[in-house]
């Protein structure tokens, strides 16, 4: 555990130090220090052109802006998105007792994608939300899609797993078709919508970090608290019930917490695949299936993996950028296969 956290910290430092603009390490540290100082002192930190720029000479000021206002929010946002998706994945895999479950299983991605594409195309109608139109729409779309799926699949107050997963897949396909139609109907905006759908952290800001932090912390707290119950649930629903576990309440809680994390992640970063599916498996293979360790470590590994994937996405073909979803799959798949192979061999 301590090792994982150390590795994560090292990754964050590396990611903040590397980018398309070469900045000496001393300047990076200085920029971070000044940024922290300014924030701590509640001083409004204004970037270049502003009056209250922190750096003294122009070059330092540019470095400050790049490190404190572009790179760091992006790194922190990547970490939060990765943690949210891996948490949701671990929760869903545990509650559905299905190794193929991922955060998007219940239609969250398609719901978010459909709502976000409508918001981008219908731009003007969302203007009152300012720059928040797309994130708000995506969050609402994701939550609404999962709510519909749960409503369709519930039997009274119970939530049978097979109908739930089926409803999720069907509602997901339906909404994905809707998104395709929106894309065809509005070619002018298609490039913007597609970039969003593929997942991107390019426009990270401290503001987005601020909106993402509360829901991710909340769902992390709920899922970590539910870890012990998830362990019991692995014995089977019937056995768990006989042991006195409130199975239906647990299922609803985990679905709600996982959906909150997923919707929040999707709303700021688009649909980034693979992280939620593979990171929990990687943790399970490395550290064992105990949810009390699996859930928190999935968050740490997910965060680290996402920071690494985004670092690759924004540097390998700079100044162009790879869609981060492509990198998560390209980096993640071989790594996962390696782990799997070692496990099978031993």
């Amino acid at each position: 555990m301590a090792l994982s956290c150390l590795a994560f910290a090292a990754l964050v430092v590396l990611a903040a130090g590397v980018g398309s603009v070469r900045i000496p390490p001393a300047e990076v540290l200085g920029a971070v220090g000044r940024g922290l100082w300014a924030t701590a002192g509640a001083v409004v930190h204004r970037p270049p052109g502003g009056v209250e720029a922190v750096g003294v000479d122009p070059a330092t000021r540019v470095f400050d802006t790049i490190v404190w206002h572009i790179r760091l929010p992006r790194v922190v946002l990547a970490a939060l998105v990765g943690a949210a998706l891996a948490l949701a994945g671990a929760g869903f895999q545990g509650v559905f007792r299905n190794p193929l479950a991922d955060p998007y299983l219940l239609g969250a991605a398609s719901g978010a994608g459909f709502a976000a594409s409508l918001a981008m195309v219908g731009g003007g109608a969302w203007a009152w939300l300012g720059g928040l139109g797309v994130p708000v729409a995506a969050f609402a779309g994701a939550a609404a899609a999962v709510a519909v799926v749960v409503a369709l699949a519930r039997r009274g107050w119970t939530l049978p797993i097979v109908p739930l997963v089926l409803a999720g897949v069907v509602v997901g396909s339906c909404l994905a078709a809707g998104t395709s139609f929106v894309l065809l109907a509005a070619r002018e905006q298609a490039a913007g919508v597609l970039t969003w759908l593929l997942g991107s952290l390019a426009f990270a800001s401290w503001g987005r970090v601020g909106t993402l932090l509360p829901p991710v912390l909340a769902s992390a707290a709920v899922l970590i608290a539910a870890a012990r119950s998830l362990d019991v649930l692995q014995l089977g629903e019937r056995t768990a019930m006989q042991l006195g576990l409130p199975v239906e309440a647990l299922k609803l809680t985990v679905v709600a917490a996982g959906t909150l994390a997923t919707a929040a992640a999707v709303s700021v970063a688009g649909v980034i695949g693979f992280v939620g599916l593979v990171v929990p498996h990687a943790v399970r293979l490395a550290l064992g299936p105990d949810h009390r360790r699996l859930v928190p470590m999935a968050a740490v590994w997910g965060a680290g993996f996402m920071v690494l994937a985004d670092l690759v996405a924004r540097t390998v073909i700079a100044p162009a950028e790879l869609p981060v979803g492509v990198v998560t799959a390209l980096v993640g798949a071989p790594f996962f296969l390696l782990l799997l192979r070692r496990k099978v061999a031993s």
């Binding site: 980018g19 398309s20 603009v21 204004r46 970037p47 270049p48 052109g49 502003g50 122009p58 540019v62 802006t65 790049i66 206002h69 572009i70 790179r71 981008m120 731009g123 203007a127 720059g131 065809l184 109907a185 070619r187 002018e188 905006q189 490039a191 913007g192 970039t195 969003w196 991107s200 390019a202 426009f203 800001s205 503001g207 924004r314 700079a318 100044p319 162009a320 950028e321």
Partner: protein, 300 residues
Amino acid sequence: MNRPHRSSPVRVAIAAIALALVSGTVSAAAPVVVVDDLGREVRLAAAPQRIVSLVPSHTETVCALGACDRLVGRDAWSDHPRSVLALPDVGSAFAPDLEAIVALRPDLVLVDEYSGAVEALAPLGLVVFAGTPQRLEEVFDMVDRLGRLLGAATEAALLQGRLRGELDGVAAVVAGRPRPTVFYEIDPSPYSVGPDGFIGTLIELAGGANVVPPELGDFPLVDPEFVVAADPQVIVLADAPYGIDLAALRARPGWSSIAAVREGRVFELTQAQSDVLSRPGPRVGEALMLLARLFHPGAF
């Protein structure tokens, strides 16, 4: 700014110098305020000297306004005039390299209004203008607004006049000639263009009759059967750079019966020609001329 009038340049210059001496400052210009396509007020205290353009047509317009030397960065697709290829490439409009842009210390960044770049760049303290012309007429308004932003109002007026003259000139030549029916293919799906969009208007002005009806929108996906039934006399292949040619059209079921295919009036555009036709910038006259020559080979 202190641009001399053509009538009495010397007197204006003297007056400007006197004014500068009196007020004790050389940059006498009032701040320029231009509203962009997102409805934002873009404010500049002085004419920008370090411009980053993330839109190819804006790159062309800035250069056509005589301010090419004030560009310090460009997006990956900006390639005209050739000299801009020497500028640093800061990525594509929809996924720009924010670090690289900030490092260039621009005093004006031109972006596409749908790219989301404005939300990322404006909070960094950069002055951002978001907008692109979607219609031919909007090119004139864009030239005007960019001209005011750049402190090049005279150049903008001259450019507008030149473009108006080019458009009117071509229209005069093709006036009264029989209009061939035209199908314009953007990609082999096939996507085409509606008559109200930028390219559609050019087709109309060049003396062609677009077979796509306006109710399908500016960039409709059309049924191949529809094209066969419409039987266009001319087909323009903007997707020729991606390998679509006359032979490919002949191989499509039923397409060999289309008049344009039978009579060999299928025109395969080069990438450069296709760029000219898809950029609502200072080369609209060139674009119109290109189409008019295809539609009316005897007229020029």
